[in-house]
């Protein structure tokens, strides 16, 4: 027992002292925040200034009501979100006006313009702009236009403006996330998406970082035969357990630093407080996931004897790790999917998928218990298998063993 502790202590202390570790503590969250917060920050900036929107209305009916409708939208500071510019000029040909409008957009004098034209059969309504990706703006333009159109149609049928207003009174849909605990919160797609994304990215980067570190140190110990001194001082099981514990402690230490950092940042409201709701179960999945993958790395690392082989192995493992990240987007849209349920019970994806689901929906305690048990049993199995591979792997140098050879190792007592 004491030797396990000594190995763990060595692995922890010697790695905490390295410059690489200190850098990773700062760099990892910086990268993740950059990745995930970047787009949000950018789109926020956009809607913080008043935008000039042109209107080219060939019918002459829509400009006035549409411009006043658009100017109803206000920014946070009370300024109008849009300023409508009339592009229509009765002395010019319509096609010329259209070209002029396009060039105003291309020279950035206008954010874009709304193009309305009517022939005998249909009404054409376009938004012509450089960027057409802002769903919030587009939805507003469409809603405002249809409201006005309904009004015009109804007043054409002789309805009073009071009645029209009465009919046109529409209600917006607000999505509310329900939880069995009785709480309710308004689900913001971006918040949910990015919290899940950040947490899974953190887990992945931590596993990859410490896994890589573990493999490198194993290769160093193998190449200079330190491993022989180690296993003639303590059993390979003690060595393996010590290494996994030491590294897990290192990972936990990293999380603690980041959580403290994050709480400090929450004060400045950069990280949504929602992220810390399910801290306890998330932490369990985090730690178990970390131990699970670390034991895979130990087994894999003991087979490798060169840096290249190690990199190859690391990239295989990172593929499995990357998989849940690909799923985040669709999972946020449909958190009840069968696929997601299924992946919760496969140990490779349990930690990240469960962290994701805890963030998206209320997960029943039974499900948490079962998945945690699955993870713990898987950890036991992987460590047992890894221990056998480790025992022989650390003493075989040169050629990487074939799969058949590894199976033979597993059979050996």
């Amino acid at each position: 027992m004491r030797k396990i502790f000594e190995v763990a202590k060595w692995e922890f202390v010697e790695k905490v002292k390295t410059r690489a570790f200190i850098i990773s503590i700062i760099i990892t969250p910086a990268i993740i925040i950059g990745f995930s917060m970047g787009p949000t920050l950018l789109s926020d900036n956009e809607s913080n200034t008043t935008q000039a929107i042109g209107i080219l209305d060939s019918t002459g009916v829509y400009f006035k009501p549409l411009s006043s409708e658009l100017e109803e939208y206000k920014l946070d500071d009370g300024q109008p979100n849009y300023v409508a510019v009339n592009l229509y000029n009765k002395h010019k040909l319509f096609n010329e006006l259209k070209l002029a409008g396009d060039s105003l957009v291309l020279t950035d004098e206008l954010e874009g313009y709304l193009f309305i034209s009517e022939d005998q059969h249909s009404l054409k309504y376009q938004f012509r702009g450089r960027s057409i990706g802002n769903f919030k703006d587009l939805k507003r333009f469409e809603r405002s236009f249809n409201k006005i159109r309904t009004e015009i149609k109804l007043s054409g049928k002789g309805l009073s403006s009071e009645l029209i207003k009465y009919i046109n009174d529409k209600v917006e849909l607000h999505p509310i996330k329900l939880e069995e605990s009785g709480k309710e919160s308004s689900a913001n797609f971006l918040v949910v998406f990015f919290t899940s994304f950040i947490l899974i990215m953190l887990l992945m980067m931590m596993i990859l970082y410490s896994g890589g570190m573990l493999i490198r140190s194993l290769i160093e110990e193998k190449s200079n035969r330190l491993i022989e001194i180690l296993v003639s001082s303590c059993s390979s099981d003690e060595l393996l357990t010590g290494k996994i514990l030491g590294l897990s402690a290192l990972g936990l230490f990293q999380i603690i630093i980041w959580v403290v950092l994050a709480i400090a940042l929450t004060g400045s409201s950069l990280i949504p407080a929602d992220a810390f709701k399910n801290v306890a179960p998330m932490l369990i999945y985090f730690v178990l996931g970390f131990i699970f993958y670390t034991s895979i790395f130990v087994g894999a690392g003991s087979i490798a004897s060169t840096e290249q082989e190690a990199q190859q192995l690391t990239s295989y493992i990172s593929l499995i790790l990357l998989f849940p990240i690909i799923l985040v987007f669709s999972a946020v849209q449909n958190s009840d999917s069968f696929m997601l349920q299924l992946l919760s019970y496969i140990p490779f994806t349990t930690p990240s998928i469960m962290i994701l689901r805890l963030n998206l929906q209320e997960v029943s305690p039974q499900e948490i218990l079962i998945t945690t048990l699955i993870l713990i049993i898987s950890i036991y199995i992987t460590i047992t298998v890894a221990a056998k591979i480790f025992k022989i792997g650390i003493l075989s140098y040169g050629k990487r063993p074939s799969v058949r050879e590894i199976f033979q190792w597993l059979k050996e007592k």
Binding site: E6, L226, I229, S232, A387
Partner: protein, 326 residues
């Protein structure tokens, strides 16, 4: 959690059974040790004993099976068959703390400090941290490394790194010390220093196994040796016995005048002339005193000395003869 104790019990039962045959006073005994890897016999039925205060030379060409033998003694790998006893008990992981090992290929944690590395290996041998540090100080002083103890391993010269590694293998005062090429990488002055240290371990009653290619060193240090080739024992015993067994019948003769005719003497196989001295190889059964008597009547002989064959020569002869037989 991971240990299977079943085998341990088996070994223990066997040990009790074997105990009666055990020679008292002998500390390490290897019996019929065999190790097979995938039908390849790397160590083939080796047996030897090393007692307190003795240095046992385990010699052989590259790939002879020395390292595998050492690894089974260290309990890093399990023998396919045969037993290893230490003080009458089968060697198990319990013996980890009394074994010191200096592997042939050296290397330490490059990014770590000298004192930390020494301490780590000491605590892994169950030495208390405090005691480890005071012992480390003592040893660093002894090997002139005191000033470097706070430095990182990678900042040390290669020779000094070797010294640190030597310290890690002996700091915990092991009863059984296994040294694989301990002099490699040291300059002559440090080689002498290490040699002195090893000899002081003999006085302390340690059991030492020395594996080396340097035959002159083995000759100076070892009391018993075993020469192995392709996993098999080629010869073993005390140095004297081996020299007697494998030494060639060669004499050095100082003379005046012309002795070239001796070449045709019926007992002579070969003769090399070096000015006033000749090295004469005699037939194996010929007594050197008889030969001297027979030639001193005809020639004027000034000196007559038997040439002691070096271990180096025996090594080469024996291994070559072995290869020829194959």
């Amino acid at each position: 959690m991971f240990k299977s104790f079943a085998n341990l019990h088996l070994i223990k039962k066997k040990a009790i059974f074997d105990f009666g045959n055990h020679i008292i006073g002998c500390m390490l005994s290897v019996k019929n040790l065999t190790k097979e890897f995938k039908n390849l016999i790397v160590v083939d039925n080796l047996s030897f004993e090393v007692s307190e205060g003795k240095i046992f030379g385990l010699l052989g060409p590259n790939g002879a099976g020395k390292t595998t033998t050492i690894r089974t003694i260290l309990n890093i790998i399990r023998p396919s068959s045969g037993n290893i006893f230490f003080d009458g008990k089968p060697i198990t992981t319990e013996f980890f703390n009394i074994i010191g090992y200096l592997p042939e290929e050296r290397g330490l944690y490059k990014k770590s400090r000298v004192i930390d590395v020494i301490k780590y290996f000491a605590v892994l041998k169950n030495i208390q941290a405090k005691k480890a540090i005071s012992l480390a100080d003592e040893w660093l002083n002894k090997l002139d490394l005191w000033d470097l103890k706070e430095k990182k391993i990678e900042e040390l010269s290669k020779g000094n790194q070797q010294k640190v590694q030597f310290i890690t293998s002996v700091l915990h005062e092991p009863k059984l010390l296994i040294l694989d090429e301990p002099f490699a990488g040291f300059d002559p002055i440090n080689q002498e220093k290490i040699k002195e240290l090893i000899l002081s371990f003999v006085d302390q009653g340690k059991i030492i196994i020395l594996s080396t290619h340097q035959m002159d060193t083995a000759e100076k240090l070892c009391s018993d040796i075993m020469l192995i080739d392709r996993g098999k024992e080629v010869c073993s015993g005390s140095l004297k016995e081996i020299k007697k067994q494998f030494g060639l019948n060669v004499v050095s003769v100082g003379f005046s005048g012309n002795i070239s005719e001796i070449k045709n003497h019926p007992n002579v196989i070969d003769m090399n002339l070096y000015g006033n001295r000749a090295e004469i190889k005699l037939k194996e059964e010929v007594q050197q005193s008889e030969f001297l008597r027979s030639i001193s009547q005809q020639y004027s002989i000034n000196s007559f000395n038997p040439i002691d064959p070096s271990l180096h020569k025996i090594f080469i002869d024996v291994i070559q003869r072995n290869a020829d037989i194959r």
